[in-house]
């Protein structure tokens, strides 16, 4: 009896190992990995079932999508055929050699109506590796109950004056994630600087970055010390902060708790005359190389369907996404959506997140630099020099 049980246990141990084997390829079936919210995928799935009934598109949600792809990206039996993800990893995956050029898979001229910023974002070393679907940028949001329309700051100095008047006793005139690279990039861009150049040089305009850091300090002094995502969100959603810079993902929760939310253009930096220019993230479809070869017909059919304005309109209405296809904005309902229109106008100034592999380490470098300057009171010049050498060391160690 004991022996039988032991043998059964041994077998039970081996079965899952054996099950790791391959899966047969079915050319009419496409597996798409994603990390998006349900509303987006429901809209996509409903649209594709109708538009391309001959292809079965299966959406699979992956929480650690990039790590999984790094492991199985060149193995057709375990990798997906396509995936939906932000454009900023395009460079990494292209260098790894798992992505297909999507241009040959699309009908000629179909991308002419796309917002230029989205195509620029999806291009790495001259090759388009993503079909952009929609994009996100940060927006200047305010709570109308506390900030009247005529008080909305047009410049950063006006913003500062408003903060001085309205901060204190547990209330804040304005809050943002001041020590997070993604948010602080808007200030750096406003001074004409950037975090990394197209060819991987960290801080190509050092003086602009230092100026931005120095100028930003007085704003930091009027904000809470800890400003990670949850603190900033809670302050704004509980009505303890009058204004914030946040992503479109904050909008549903703000409406839910009854905030009288309004959106304004980004303030202009007095010194340079440039608006705070946030990063944008372009979400779209990447095709894996082997899928483009083995399942070309199905892939082409799906991509072509995704180029129609209808899906952009569906996404905008379902989840407030700003479509990459400019034709979508002609739709009456989309034109009425304040949030979507605000993102469209921000797209004119927004800077796509760099998609080169070097950016991966720059997130950490910049957030260390910001922490040193904003939270530990380090000298800007010294902290910058340290960050620059850290960046150069890390970039060298990537190779």
């Amino acid at each position: 009896m004991k022996r039988t049980i032991t043998l059964l246990l041994v077998l039970a141990l081996l079965v899952p190992l054996a099950a790791c084997g391959g899966e047969s390829t079915d050319t009419g079936r496409l597996v798409v990995w994603h990390d998006k919210e349900d509303a987006v995928i429901e809209a996509l799935s409903a649209y594709l079932t109708q538009a391309v009934p001959e292809v079965e598109v299966v959406f699979e949600k992956k929480t650690s999508l990039t790590d999984s792809l790094k492991l199985v990206g060149n193995d057709p039996s375990s990798a997906p055929d396509m995936f939906i993800f932000a454009h900023d990893k395009v460079g990494v995956f292209a260098e790894m050699g798992i992505l297909a050029d999507v241009r040959p898979l699309l009908d000629e001229g179909v991308l002419d109506g796309w917002l230029p910023m989205t195509l620029e974002a999806a291009t790495y070393k001259g090759t388009l590796y993503q079909l952009p679907l929609y994009f996100e940028t940060l927006l200047f949001m305010y709570n109308k109950r506390y900030m009247q329309d005529e008080q909305v700051p047009a410049t950063t100095e006006e913003l500062y004056a408003y903060m001085e008047q309205n901060t204190g006793r547990g209330r804040y005139g304005f809050v943002e994630q001041h020590s997070t690279a993604y948010y602080s990039a808007a200030w750096i861009h406003g001074f004409g600087g950037s975090i990394v150049s197209e060819d991987g040089v960290p801080f190509p305009e050092p003086e602009a970055v230092k100026d931005a850091l120095r100028y930003h300090l007085k704003f930091v002094a009027l904000m809470p010390g800890e400003t990670e995502y949850s603190t900033v969100n809670t302050l704004f959603l509980e009505g303890k902060a009058d204004a914030t810079i946040g992503g479109p993902w904050m909008v549903p929760s703000a409406r839910e708790v009854g905030i009288e939310l309004s959106i304004a253009p980004m303030p202009v930096v007095d010194e340079t005359g440039e608006a705070l220019a946030p990063y944008s993230g372009v979400q779209g479809v990447q095709v894996l190389r082997f899928a483009a070869e083995d399942k070309a017909e199905a892939v082409k059919a799906v991509l072509s369907a995704l180029c129609a304005p209808q899906i952009g309109i569906d996404l905008a209405l379902a989840s407030g996404c700003a479509p990459a296809n400019a034709a979508c904005y002609d739709d009456a309902q989309v034109a009425d959506d304040e949030l979507v229109q605000a993102m469209r106008s921000t797209a004119e100034i927004a800077v796509p997140m760099p998609n080169i592999p070097e950016m991966d380490v720059m997130w950490t470098v910049v957030s260390n630099l910001l922490t040193d300057v904003n939270l530990s009171g380090a000298d800007v010049d010294a902290a910058f020099d340290e960050a620059l050498s850290e960046a150069e060391g890390l970039i060298a160690n990537m190779k």
């Binding site: 041994v10 790894m96 800890e226 260390n368 939270l375 160690n397 190779k399």
Partner: protein, 301 residues
Amino acid sequence: MEDRLKRQRRGWLVSYLWSAPSLALIALIVVFPILYTFFISLTNMNVYHWFDYTVIGLDNYVRALFVFDSGFLSALINTVLWTVVNMAIQLVLAFVLASLLNIRKLRLRKLYKTLLMFPWAMPGYVSILLWKTGMFNSEFGLLNQWMEALGLEARRWLSTDVSAFICCTVVNIWLALPFMLMIMDGAMQSIDRSYYESAVLDGANWLQRSWSITIPCIRPIIAPAVIITVFTTFKQFDVIYLLTQQMGAKTGSGLHTILTYAYENAFITNNYGYSSAISIIIFLLLLAFSARWQPGGEGEK
């Protein structure tokens, strides 16, 4: 004679056969990753050579030594201090609590035990983030609400090295205490009551009884638990990283252990060859430490 040898050999074979599944499992999940990491450390596996990597010898080790700079040295000192402080507090606290749990005629013993086990039942990640937002957050945290209620100024608990070290220690102890407590409690229950009875007759007080009976009796039982805890504390990553260094939520403290330091200075480069070399060096360091710290073998009294 030959028969006996044969039987012995067969017994030997059979015992290996029966333990084969677990040996295979250990080989698969413990030995294989270490060997594979070592193999990767000899290659140039990185973003630019992800699937077409080649063996490049010891180059990665030469570069890895540059990570072991002054920053690494202070991280190493921090790690040792962190391990010693945490172990000392854990042992003392667990001993006191286990002694209290073993008081005769204690009421609601099971309730206390369940409550004391609770931190262990929660996923560490969740507990740590709850501590971070629920206790230490400067805007909403309980600590600052108490400070305000007492008329004191709110402060940022995780912003300096020293206060971050203290906060991390508190959270780590909260997480790790149940394990030590459970082992100590079990060990104490295995001590024969008659020792204590005769000690009481001889007029020994609690301290004397603890020193001469409890501690010597539980030592051999808790030794393996201490070794395990030294390891987990030494290579603790979650507590320090999540409390003070999480991406987008850095608090301003520069507290680093060797693992968080290696993470920030190597692992984020996506260079697997180079990072594996660093992992192997840290692994060897850990081995050296554990050989040094092995608390008394079985033979020792």
